[in-house]
């Protein structure tokens, strides 16, 4: 693989997988109120 292709592969990984990691960290750290008891499905 050329350096350009390797660089773009790394950029894509950092942006998309890093974005996913950041989104997960955000939602885990956010302490919003959780709903009460789960309701029964019919």
């Amino acid at each position: 693989m050329t350096a350009g292709a390797i660089a773009m592969m790394v950029v894509a990984m950092v942006v998309l997988w890093g974005g996913l990691a950041a989104a997960i960290v955000n939602i885990v750290r956010f302490k919003g109120p959780e709903p009460g008891e789960s309701m029964r499905d019919l």
Partner: protein, 510 residues
């Protein structure tokens, strides 16, 4: 005056993790595996990441959040949610339901083919000519017209898949829809992850990755590349046709919907990148083993899954394992998407007729299963599927998404209110950036894509199929979905169905 029933639950996800997994299960589908790698390769390789990321942030996630806002604030299926916003908009919800009906009936056929190919991977039943095997020996494909010549090799797995689907749907929102994704999505990730590891170890894999990631910066000057990036994000995320409205209506009031949207959006795109790496590593191997350039063996869709991959499986060491992982991934990704598409229909019918879960499921799925089997387990199944898929995606989903954005933004002018609603318990505030995107930018972009698609479809008959088949199963199916939406919006709701969004979860009707 509305007579309100005693509180009866319409089902809901028990927590945000189940909701997020279900939403990822819906978004991650066949398009991630067999469409993204080709679109990225065609759209400038490594340079494609730029328009792709812009499309995700400017159109994909904003539109996803709009769907969430509608369902989460109005607490109903797509038709009920739109009816609660304005009775005049109810047809949009039924239009989305009709689109889901069309997609559901052909989606099951692809799952049936994929499940058969899991078995074929062991025996390499396609021999030395996978293309002839798929179209002639397996499907007995006949594109000259519609036949009722059933193909047992497709009919039997289709019946099994429909039975399993009906069981899952009957189990309900949490125990059926939610639980399926909670189990299947991690298994899918493991299966495809193993496939990527195996594909990367094949000779020629680096050539495949070079072909995928080598940046062609000149492509960024081509508007068609930007349109294809927006198209990929749009079709891949399952936005605009009722699924995310329905799922969001099953989520508790105080869940962080904006944070969830970003997780779903990036999870979907992250999985697409994994698919690109796996698929192009395998194609690199195929090119090397056949003495061709990677660009000569690149394929997408059915050609990639049922022609190129069998050729790879025949040549690769531990080819059977590669085949099992690939086709199992297709089945898992497709099944969670099929479940989400059917949930749109079941939820709408239950809301309208006030049916129990089991009754609603049977009323919807049994007729759909019969139509699906009748149309797609025959020798003409592939032709009808190809035409329906092309037209309902473009002139069904794209059109309804644009109409709903315009109606919500400029008709009932509820977008700023949605931003406030979503921001109340959300970790990411929407005020400022989201409103102009959803009201102006995204509708313009979707409209631009739609114009390009109309020009392409009118300029040349799709796939070289006959005019009457394109008219009936293409333009006809897309038009019938709109017609069905308008007609189904005419009957009034029962007096026991509140046409105002309930203030508390406990007040939702079944």
């Amino acid at each position: 005056m509305t007579a309100t029933k005693a509180p009866i639950d319409r089902g809901r996800f028990s927590n945000k993790t189940v909701f997020i997994m279900a939403a990822i299960g819906s978004a991650v589908g066949l398009g991630n595996i067999w469409r993204f790698p080709y679109v990225a390769y065609e759209g400038g390789g490594g340079a494609f990441i730029l328009p792709y990321l812009v499309a995700l942030l400017v159109a994909g996630i904003p539109l996803l959040l709009l769907d969430y806002a509608v369902g989460h604030s109005q607490r109903g299926s797509a038709p009920l949610s739109f009816a609660r916003l304005s009775r005049k908009l109810e047809f949009i919800g039924w239009w989305q339901v009709a689109i889901c009906v069309v997609i559901a009936v052909y989606y099951a056929a692809i799952l049936a083919w994929s499940s058969q190919y899991i078995g074929f991977s062991f025996t390499q039943a396609w021999g030395s000519d996978p293309e002839a095997f798929f179209f002639e020996d397996f499907l007995h494909s006949d594109s000259s017209g519609v036949t009722l010549d059933f193909v047992p090799a497709v009919l039997i797995p289709m019946v099994i898949i429909w039975v399993l689907t009906i069981v899952v749907m009957a189990l309900g929102v949490q125990n059926g829809v939610g639980a399926t994704s909670v189990i299947f999505i991690p298994v899918l990730l493991i299966a495809f992850g193993a496939l990527v590891v195996q594909a990367l170890s094949l000779p020629g894999a680096s050539e495949g990755l070079q072909t995928l990631f080598a940046p062609n910066w000149a492509a960024l000057l081509d508007p068609a590349v930007w349109a294809s990036a927006f198209g990929q994000i749009f079709f891949s995320l399952s936005v605009g046709f009722g699924i995310m409205i329905t799922y969001a209506s099953y989520v508790g009031r105080k869940i962080d919907m904006t944070g969830s949207g970003f997780v779903v959006g990036f999870a979907n795109s992250g999985f697409e990148l994994l698919c690109g790496i796996g698929v192009f590593s395998a194609l690199g191997f195929l090119a090397q083993s056949s003495g061709a350039a990677v660009s000569e063996v690149v394929a997408d869709g059915i050609g990639l899954a049922f022609v190129a991959f069998p050729a790879i499986i025949s040549e690769a060491p531990l080819g059977a394992l590669l085949g099992v992982l690939f086709f199992t991934s297709l089945v898992l990704a497709g099944f969670t998407s099929l479940v989400s598409i059917l949930e749109v229909v079941i939820s709408a019918v239950r809301d309208k007729l006030e049916l129990s879960r089991i009754t609603g499921t049977l009323v919807v799925t049994v007729p759909l299963a019969l139509i699906s089997i009748l149309l797609f387990s025959t020798t003409s199944g592939l032709t009808v599927l190809d035409i329906s898929d092309y037209f309902i995606n473009r002139f069904g989903i794209l059109l309804v998404a644009m109409v709903s954005m315009l109606a919500l933004g400029w008709g009932v002018r509820r977008v700023p209110w949605f931003a406030e609603h979503m921001g109340r318990y959300g970790s990411i505030p929407l005020r400022g950036w989201w409103v102009p995107l959803v009201m102006v930018i995204t509708p313009l972009l979707v409209g631009f894509m739609l114009v390009l698609e109309v020009i392409a479809a009118v300029a040349e008959p799709y796939g070289g199929y006959s005019g009457w088949m394109l008219g009936v199963f293409g333009w006809g199916a897309a038009g019938a979905a709109l017609g069905a939406g308008i007609l189904l919006a005419i009957p009034k709701w029962k007096s026991t169905t509140p046409l105002e969004a309930p203030e508390h979860d406990e007040e939702v009707i079944r």
